[in-house]
Symmetry: C2
Subunit: 329 residues, 2 copies
């Protein structure tokens, strides 16, 4: 990803929601990342506490308790947030002004994911509102196309991405037509960085999964990243014929993106057996025997664990805390 | 559940895998629980560290690293484990003997869940093996019928449970026919305690979910427990018409048992919107507005969080750490 930044001239602002680790964030910044994305205020608090930044919080912040926390965070860190609502923007501006601060803001645009963000043709109106609020500073657009990242076939992914890009450009035009500048266009994940690099208007990408990947991302054509993340499990029972029962269930491996894969043994098939157990079909294994599982979704699996056990060539070199694990608010 | 124990004469050994909290375990023991179940060694280590017990580890333990941890745990705590394999039993016995210890053991019987456990007619053979191993002490049977707990209709649940009970009795007969005693029959969860109470051979129940319940258990007919567990979320965006986007997705609420319910507002419908977001359909809510969600599965949702915020009549009375969260090994 550092090579991608050098080659394309795009800034990379890795998403810390994937790794939730200040140590990994530090490695990314050391290799040229221009800052970090955080999904939530709690994640940003952990990163700021480790002296890292600048930070972009990619989820809207609203409600008095969170706004107060954001003010406290802004006092000690360079933090920017996404907004998609005029009332919420006013509340942020008022709180910042009351504390003698200003807050950098990106207008969040819905480019087809249908989650947060204004429609492209509404971007100008919200941007004008932000520009009029003296506690906020309009910096540009966030336009994340999460629904396209996992489209496996490259041609189809590119086609779907193109529709998102058209919406990004429409939003940009809607803002510029009001005489306002769009300095930042923050977009793209691991699955679409290569496309985003072809759009001159894009200034930065928000990729998160690339350091780890997972067995679902492995199905996405055309990505240059390898899988580095596994969950080590061991057999606890061999009483079910050709299905060994292991000590890793829903509490060890997320299944929102399907079942994990067994590393190096494609003939084996994992099936969930509840909170605490999994079944591995296809081999007779003995109790105590270990296998490594490649998660189907790195973000939600990492969020189940407290530590990375860092291994190089079979030797444990470090144990890194997943310091922002569970920081979901 | 304490009243159930008094009324039926069955011992209650609550499963700590649900709450993962030594503080809640302490409350259960203070109210007459006869000990605690732990799903994993790591959970038992936390409970033992808080001075709690006696402990039953309900998942088989195998492999040198875990056996060594079990020996260390056995030195400081009263711990019993389930076994379903002769080689694994021998390894446990050898390790205990080498440390000058003995370990209480239950023969784990498959009563229809098809996960761990020997078949009922193989229980006697394994029990005889355990009885012959001088590092182990045969105490009885574990026969957990996890597949029956969430059968919603009471008559159907009872019928399915009856088949499990027949298998428990067959296993017991298989052991007793070899002249061995079955002092403990540990079985049942929140959904089947009432049935287990009718079987004289049952000595204890392993219920875990009853202190919290969840919106799936709420559909199970005939249970006297109320829901006490919710996840507090807030609206972050209102740009998608009648679907408010909230700050609670897969990292806040497990979905292995379906979607959470919105507390007190049955007309609202939650849908997952990824790791960090959810959608709540059916009401126009403003950013910052809060709602409470009732998880669909208490165990896997609790395992996502670090603390219980304990509320009585709207007032926060305590914050309890979920000390064994993530202790899955």
């Amino acid at each position: 990803m550092a090579a991608f930044a050098t080659r394309t001239g795009k800034r990379v602002r890795p998403h810390a929601k994937t790794h939730k680790s200040p140590l990994i964030a530090r490695l990314q910044l050391d290799r040229g990342a221009s800052g970090l994305c955080c999904a939530k205020l709690g994640e940003a608090e952990v990163m700021a506490g480790a002296g890292l930044g600048p930070l972009l919080i990619t989820t809207e912040i609203a409600g008095e308790p969170k706004v107060a926390r954001l003010v406290a965070l802004r006092k000690r860190a360079h933090v920017m947030v996404a907004v998609d609502d005029r009332d919420a923007a006013r509340a942020l501006s008022d709180a910042m002004l009351a504390a003698g601060l200003t807050l950098d803001v990106l207008v969040d645009v819905n480019v087809g994911q249908e989650r947060t963000g204004v429609q492209p043709d509404g971007a100008g109106e919200l941007a004008a509102c932000v520009a009029s609020l003296t506690g906020l500073r309009l910096r540009g657009i966030q336009a994340y196309e999460g629904h396209v990242q996992h489209v496996y076939a490259e041609a189809e992914r590119r086609m779907k991405w193109r529709a998102c890009a058209d919406r990004m450009l429409a939003a940009m035009e809607s803002i510029r037509s009001r005489g306002l500048a769009v300095e930042i266009l923050s977009t793209a994940g691991t699955g679409t960085c290569a496309f985003a690099a072809e759009l001159p208007e894009v200034t930065e990408v928000q990729a998160g999964s690339y350091p780890f990947m997972d067995c679902d991302y492995a199905r996405v054509e055309g990505l240059p990243y390898e899988s580095s993340l596994t969950v080590l499990a061991s057999v606890v029972s061999r009483q079910r014929g050709d299905t060994a029962v292991i000590d890793a269930g829903w509490k060890a491996l997320s299944t929102d993106a399907g079942m994990p894969a067994v590393k190096g043994r494609p003939e084996l098939e994992y099936a969930t057996k509840g909170d605490e157990h999994g079944g591995v079909r296809g081999a007779r294994m003995v109790p105590g025997e270990r296998i490594e599982l490649v998660p189907s979704h790195c973000d939600t699996t990492v969020n189940l664990h407290d530590e990375y056990i860092c291994i190089r060539k079979g030797v444990v070199e470090a144990v890194w805390p997943i310091a922002a694990r569970g920081r979901i608010q």
